[in-house]
């Protein structure tokens, strides 16, 4: 039963240092734990500039620390390179299925996995031990380039829903599937299809050398929720959460440079003297409807006498007293 998580946005919090450390540790647990809490697919979308393999390894380390066995379908890096950086405890819980050395069976030595990538993926669907298991796919992009999208999606669905097998009498722990996807390599169709299969989607980006993860949670029977988390990954693949974007992005004034006053060297006067200010404040605007004006209009007083027109005819004016409209039959 997943416990409710307290999701925070990227707002600035003012906390004491010790409290911030505690909250930081809590948030670290929350971010990795919340990603691993639900069974199903966690999609890590990375790019050339912001790579996602280190976050994948951080999640794997977390799973292994929780006692799970981790199966890795490695297509892009060698086993040696993948295991680098993990301590022996984590490494002992990793099972690396090597699709890197000879994925397409070019060497014909028989060392390659016999049924190719699809066979290897399907083999992972058939689990023997009922314990909790995490499956990491490094990477989904490689699989998507070599397998049809529909086949891959169907296999992924089967992989992440192993606990709902009809013929299974014993209740099985949910499977965590972590998939690394390189966003730029695929069109919106395949990416959208994989994204719809995912319970959580992490899009990696960043600014000023600081990585950030935009996480979209799709919990069943709940609205999708967003969270943005700035982080960095330490050499031992533990997560170091940052509170916000790096300082250069924040609009804090630099205390070392004095603020420049632009009104100091002008050829015109921008300032008002005291008398000018008073005169300005007491001025009533001509079209402003104040209460005095309202009263004056409502009360026709003697000052409201009829206006008078003073007319002095010119020499060649023709003054005719008759009404020119008299002959109109209106």
């Amino acid at each position: 039963m997943p416990r409710p998580f307290h999701l925070e946005g990227a707002e600035q919090l003012s906390v004491t240092p010790s409290e911030s450390v505690r909250r930081g540790a809590e948030r670290e647990l929350e971010m990795l734990e919340s990603l691993l809490a639900l069974g199903g697919l966690v999609l890590l979308r990375d790019s050339v500039e912001w790579e996602g393999r280190s976050l994948l390894k951080a999640l794997i380390k977390k799973s292994a620390a929780c006692g799970e066995q981790v199966h890795i379908l490695g297509c892009e890096v060698s086993e040696e390179e993948f295991r680098e950086g993990f301590d022996s405890h984590v490494n002992s819980r990793l099972v690396y299925h090597d699709l890197f050395r000879d994925p397409l069976n070019w060497s014909k030595t028989g060392e390659a996995l016999p049924e190719g990538p699809l066979g290897a993926l399907r083999a992972m669907c058939r689990r023997t031990n009922p314990g909790p298991v995490t499956i990491a796919l490094d990477s989904l992009s490689w699989l998507l380039l070599h397998l049809p999208c529909t086949t891959l999606c169907q296999t992924l669905h089967a992989l992440s829903h192993q606990d709902s097998c009809p013929g299974n009498s014993t209740p099985v722990e949910p499977v965590h599937v972590l998939g690394l996807l390189h966003e730029e390599l695929h069109g919106p169709g395949p990416v959208g299809a994989l994204s719809s299969l995912a319970q959580a989607e992490v899009t990696l980006s960043g600014a000023m050398g600081q990585a950030s993860a935009h996480i979209l949670y799709r919990r069943p029977r709940q609205r999708p929720t967003h969270q943005t988390q700035w982080f960095s990954i330490l050499p031992d693949f533990s997560l170091d959460l940052q509170r916000g974007p790096p300082l250069e992005l924040q609009r804090h004034p630099d205390p070392h440079t004095p603020p420049v006053d632009p009104t100091t060297q002008l050829t015109f006067n921008l300032h008002l003297s005291k008398e000018e200010k008073e005169a300005k404040d007491s001025l009533t605007l001509p079209f402003q409807f104040s209460s005095e004006k309202q009263q004056a209009l409502l009360r026709p007083g003697p000052s409201q006498a009829t206006s008078r027109i003073f007319y002095e005819p010119d020499a060649y004016d023709d003054l005719d007293q008759e009404d020119p409209d008299d002959d109109l039959d209106v």
Binding site: V48, F100, Q210, P235
Partner: protein
């Protein structure tokens, strides 16, 4: 890190104090360097790496699909290496694409040729080319033990797309080369890809992005946004990826401007060209 006022490419990459600086051959091996160019000609980088690795006494396999052997030889002589000599003593294995592509059609079909894909109606894979590379770089008997780590140089991969090979096939070829040359033989790979930019070449974009994800170091030569300049020929962006030691400080990308001279290339920080100062 202060950029040198003027310096060669080697000084540039070394003075950055990165743990994964590539070009110091004995220190870091097993790396894939991607050269790409956008709106300019990045082949000067290919010539640099070719002469650098030959001078460093490495065994080099050069898949040259763009220019003839004599072209690279002439430029190499300006940079201080003789390709003819290197080829004769077995240090350099040179696949001249322009010449040997004609051989494909005049050979019998049973003999595999590295450029076999030119004969095939539907584009197959680049396995024959990979076999050629593996054969060229495999550690031989004691006579070849004098050479240092093996190096694969490809100029360039975009032309393979023009010849009808699919982007995934080219990516698979580099994948296998990485598995053999980088991981097994602890050598290096340097390859050039053109960036089509606005031309909306989807296959090329897949190839470029796919290779970028596999690379440890990306050197990107770009033309200046303002157009052609006599004194500054372009700008070079250096991006380090997949650092073997993750450092907290993520200062992984640098940009320099360069000017190509007759026998060298000089680099300087942006806006600091001696011609404009």
């Amino acid at each position: 890190m202060l950029a040198p006022a003027e310096g060669g490419l080697l000084d540039l990459l070394e003075s950055s104090q990165r743990p994964c600086v590539l070009l110091k051959v004995p220190r870091k091996q097993g790396k894939l360097t991607l050269l790409c160019d956008a709106k300019t000609d990045g082949s000067f980088l290919v010539h640099h790496f070719l002469s650098f690795y030959l001078k460093a006494n490495c065994k080099v396999c050069f898949v040259a699909l763009i220019q003839s052997f004599s072209h690279y030889n002439i430029v190499g002589q300006k940079l201080g290496v003789s390709l003819t000599t290197a080829r004769e003593r077995g240090q350099l294995v040179f696949l001249e694409g322009l010449k040997s592509s004609v051989d494909v059609f005049f050979r019998s079909q049973e003999e595999p040729h590295p450029l076999q894909f030119l004969r095939e109606a539907n584009t197959g894979n680049l396995q024959p080319l990979f076999e050629f590379v593996r054969e060229a770089l495999k550690p031989g008997d004691n006579a070849e033990a004098a050479w240092r780590c093996p190096v694969l140089l490809v100029d360039d991969l975009s032309v393979l797309l023009s010849l009808g090979v699919g982007a995934v096939a080219v990516l698979d070829f580099i994948h296998y080369c990485r598995a053999t040359v980088c991981c097994e033989l602890k050598g290096n790979i340097v390859t050039l890809v053109h960036d089509s930019g606005d031309a909306e070449d989807e296959e090329n974009d897949v190839l470029l992005n796919g290779l970028s994800h596999q690379s440890h170091l990306i050197l990107r030569a770009e033309g200046l946004a303002t157009g052609f300049c006599r004194d500054v020929h372009g700008q070079l962006r250096i991006l380090w990826r997949r650092p073997s030691q993750l450092t907290a400080q993520r200062d992984r990308s640098l940009t320099y401007q360069y000017k190509i001279q007759d026998k060298s290339v000089s680099f300087f920080a942006k806006g600091m060209s001696p011609a404009v100062l």
